[in-house]
Structure formats: C-alpha cells, structure tokens
C-alpha cells in the first residue's frame, strides 16, 4: 500500500514536510564540503553522512508527493518548512561540524517520535534511519571530544560555533501549525515541547562530558512556525535548482 498525502491531516503533512525539508537542506549543505573537506578521508565521511540525510529526505518526500524532484526543488520559498539551522551556509568547518552534532542530536529525537507511528512506512524508515544515525552521532562525538581535549584554539572554535548555532538548533522545536493533529492521529508520539526538553538534556550532557560551560541561550525568533525562510535562502535554492531548471520535464 502506498500512502499519499491525501490520507494525512494538514498538521501531519506540515510536520513531515518540516522534517523532510530539514533533511534535504542539511544534506545539501553538508555535501558542499565535497572536495573541500579538511582531509580526504573526512571529505568522504562527511559527504557520506550528507548522502544519508538526502536519502532520508527522499524517503519522507515519497510519502508526501508523487513527484519528489518537483516537490523538493521547485516549490516557492514560502512553501518550504525547513528550520533556519538547516538553511545556513556554515562555510567554516567548525560551524559545519557543530551544526552536524546539533542537528543529529535533534534528528535522533525526531526518529524516536516516529518509531511507533501509526503510519507503518514511518516505523520502517525510523528503524533504518536510526541504524545510520548511530554512526553520525559517533562521528560528531569523535571530533568534538578530541577538540575538547585539545588546545585553547580548538576549544574556542567549538565554543564560537556553539554560541552562534545553538539558538538556531533550539528553534528546531518551534511547533508547526497543526502539530496536535499529528499527535492525535498517532503519527508522532511526542510534542515539540517535550522533544525540546529531551534535546536540552542531551546537548547539555554532551557539553558537560566535553567540559564546555556555556550560558544557555534562547531560541532565535522569526521562523514563524517554519513559514519564513532565512536570509540567503533563495540563492541557496537557486543553486540546488541549477540542473533541474535546464529541463524541468526531463525524466531521470
């Protein structure tokens, strides 16, 4: 049986679109390191993580639409539901690395919220994704724990990126419109506010383990339930559309 978006409530579609768009854009942003990673082996590892996230995005989009490419690439910016954390360029390695950790800590909780979903395809997907995400979290931890044990320069690089990106990460939990419908239907098991509390515990636990002390920030404002795009988004989207607009009717 293939589910289509017509079987889902608007709140469910909104929640899943938000997750799918986050996976799409974090994967695309991670993939911009291809050929530019700090060393060859890490270049491959980071872009492999990017591919995993893009794979999750495709699998989620397939539940929402018949035409994944169009939905993924050709919506108007206002119709995307990504969080700003996933849209940011993060052109410096310390920022990309810290975002990877912050995002994957959140992704873990989102898959947990889908693990016993009333939509069977989401249960399957959550189980598959978690097998990949274990490695993603280990990867982030291996680097950040080494940087934490390293010199002042490395520690400062991490702290600078955390200070800037954590407020964006906390805004991942800004609930989408109609979230309660998705909860009532059992598509997701946990409200954003509860996921946010678990997230804080896990992120604080990591920082504590690494010996970083920070003043806990508040979430950025302005996403307006994920309906507003961040500065620079249109340019980013255009870069992703470069191939598809050459021939929008082409079949791959």
């Amino acid at each position: 049986m293939s589910l289509t978006a017509t079987d889902m409530s608007p709140g469910t579609i909104e929640w899943l679109t938000g997750f799918a768009d986050d996976e799409h854009f974090i994967g695309s942003r991670h993939a911009s390191w291809i050929g530019l990673g700090p060393f060859l082996e890490e270049d491959l590892a980071f872009c492999s993580i990017a591919q995993d996230e893009l794979g999750h995005a495709i699998a989620l989009y397939e539940l929402l639409t018949e035409s994944v490419d169009d939905f993924a690439l050709l919506r108007t910016p206002a119709d995307y539901r990504s969080a700003w954390l996933c849209e940011l360029p993060c052109e410096k390695w310390n920022y990309s690395l810290v975002r990877h950790w912050l995002y994957d800590r959140a992704e873990e909780l989102r898959w947990e919220s889908l693990a016993s979903s009333t939509i069977p395809a989401l249960q399957t997907l959550a189980a598959r994704a978690e097998r990949e995400e274990v490695f993603h979290r280990d990867h982030a931890d291996l680097y950040l724990s080494r940087l934490a044990d390293g010199d002042d320069y490395g520690r400062a690089q991490v702290l600078t990126a955390v200070a800037e990106l954590l407020p964006y990460a906390l805004a991942l939990w800004e609930p989408v419109e109609g979230e309660n419908d998705a909860l009532d239907a059992g598509v997701i098991s946990t409200a954003s506010a509860d996921l946010a509390a678990s997230y804080t515990t896990r992120v604080e636990g990591d920082l504590d383990r690494w010996g970083f002390e920070i003043a806990w920030p508040t979430a950025i404002e302005g996403q307006n339930c994920r309906t507003v795009r961040s500065a620079g988004f249109e340019e980013f989207l255009q870069s992703l559309q470069e191939v598809i607009v050459l021939d929008p009717n082409a079949t791959w």
Binding site: L40, E41, E42, L44, A45, S48, F135, H139, L142, Y143
Partner: protein
Amino acid sequence: MNTYEVFLKKAGREEFRHVGSMQAPDPELALPLARESYARRAEGDLMWLVDRDDLIVANEALIAPNADKPHRHNDGKRVADRRKRERGEA
C-alpha cells in the same frame, strides 16, 4: 596523522585483501573513516586496519636474490607429461 593499511574480507572463505591505505589522526577515528573510504558500498563484511608503522618491512636485498632461480618454478608440465606417457596417451 597516521597512515593505515586497509584490508577487507567478504563473507565466505575468501581471504582478507589489501584494498588501499588512508590517513587518520588515531586508531579510534581511523575505523569510521576507513569504513567511509573503503566500505561504504558494502565492499566487505570484515575490516582490518594496520598502522603502517607496525608493518615489518623486508629489505629489498633480502628478497631480490630469489628472482633468478627458475628451478624453483614448477608448472607441473613434466609430471603431467610423464603421467600421460604411463597411461599410454603420448
């Protein structure tokens, strides 16, 4: 950075085979990086990494003198010919 030699083995009776080398800062980080560099398309089921510094490397002078001993090569032809003769086939 350390250099590691990477070996992979597929299921079944095939032996471990050298598939290449790679760099990593330490053994713990070398494992996931090796996985992504050499096994991300399921090229193997088991993986060994050997720090290149741990290899016991033979001096070329130790190996070279054996290059000119054709009498140590046996292609089995003389034995096969004798057996054929004894079976009366040749």
